[in-house]
Amino acid sequence: MIELDGAVVTAYAPGEARRGAARVVTLLGPVTATLTERRVAVVGANGSGKSTLARLLNGLTLPSAGSVRVDGLDTARDGAAVRRRVGFLFTDPDAQVVMPTPVEDVALSLRRLGVPARERDARAREALGRVGLASRADLPVRALSGGQRQLLALAAVLATEPAVLVCDEPTTLLDLRWRRVVDGLLADLPQQVVQVTHDLDAAARADRVLVVDGGRVVHDGAPGAALDAYRALMAVEPA
């Protein structure tokens, strides 16, 4: 269960620090919500604060005020324990994949769990097999397509068996075929999945949708009404 209690994220306005009176701007919040549903979608315009919301959930970004708790663990106090429970999938797999080959990258995730060296290779291959990449395990990562790289990033996260998976636009860079593959894999996961997305079809399949606009959650509820509210927001010309 994820609990956001008046969570606020602020930052210094860029370019103003030199003048000695840096202005603090609010990027997100305050957000108060308890997320218990298995599938939660977060939609919103570019720059609305939805990625900031996602990053709050595994402690990549800490709240300036309020708190975020995952299964009772506070992201500010228990960051390492929260990250063991909450996996994070980025938009761009190239930002996430660290090692030269798929099997080595998944093994790196297992190393964190303290899996002995002799077991890591087999478990990494098993994790790659679950996302359909068994035959690509030893290829250079650069030889994989964008879709395969996103599957690799997913395998590296799932290998650690997180209780929650937070995905920040995981299909934005993919073509329709790979989008379907990634969507299918995410749909079948036993974990709670919080997915930031611009894909309204994916959002419509969620149990709950949060609409973020101007750093605020402006609608929170079932997909039908939430997506209507989002479409109404998007009907206005951008400033």
């Binding site: 990250r83 996430q96 660290v98």
Partner: protein, 200 residues
């Protein structure tokens, strides 16, 4: 093709050799390069590195292509040495640089990153006494190796973009965005490691 940080699966004697032995060999090669003087010694050591690359069955053409940026740097350094100190030191500098990079390429190409990390973490164990986690040291070294081809690729992409706009001759046009992109990638990488809990 990238030269460093690109392990490929093969079954040569060097692929089967213990990681520790390869790292010690690389360290000894480095010491020999620094400790010896003169063109004959430099050429012998370069011959050793080329021999190791042949035993490791590194593909010649992609390896040469990967060496090209190092070769350009070595030739520039060599040209300066030729002007300042004569041909002998110039040949020595070029040979030494190529020897070190080729030696490192042989080790990374014949060693899976996971095994390299294990060996480096074992070697860094004494640092635990002064509060430095060995796993982090090993990861830092592995990331440096991985970063070399990444940086080369970024520079290549930015130069291509400059060429597409007809401005590749002015280094300012591609150097600034290349540096900014490398720094940006490093920040993204740090963030991804944090998200995966690897640096906790």
């Amino acid at each position: 093709m990238t030269l460093l940080g690109a392990h490929r699966t093969a079954r040569t004697p060097l692929d089967r050799a213990p990681v520790g032995a390869k790292l010690v060999g690389l360290a000894l090669l480095g010491v020999a390069v620094v400790a010896t003087r003169g063109v004959p010694a430099a050429l012998v050591l370069l011959g050793l590195a080329v021999g190791a690359a042949a035993v490791a069955a590194l593909p010649p053409r992609p390896t040469l292509r990967g060496l090209l940026p190092v070769l350009v740097t070595a030739l520039l350094a060599g040209a300066y040495q030729a002007w300042a100190r004569g041909w002998g030191p110039a040949v020595e500098v070029v040979a030494d640089l190529l020897t070190l990079v080729l030696g490192a390429a042989v080790v990374t190409a014949t060693t899976p990153a996971d095994r390299l990390l294990d060996a480096l973490a074992r070697a860094a164990r004494p640092l635990r006494r002064v509060g430095v986690p060995p796993d982090l040291v090993a990861l830092a070294v592995a990331l440096v190796l991985r970063s070399v081809p990444e940086i080369a690729r970024t520079v290549h992409e930015v130069r291509d973009a400059a060429r597409a706009r007809g401005a590749e001759r002015d280094p300012r046009v591609w150097l600034t965005p290349a540096v900014l992109r490398v720094v940006g990638r490093a920040r993204d990488l740090g963030e991804a490691l944090a998200a995966r809990g690897i640096v906790d």
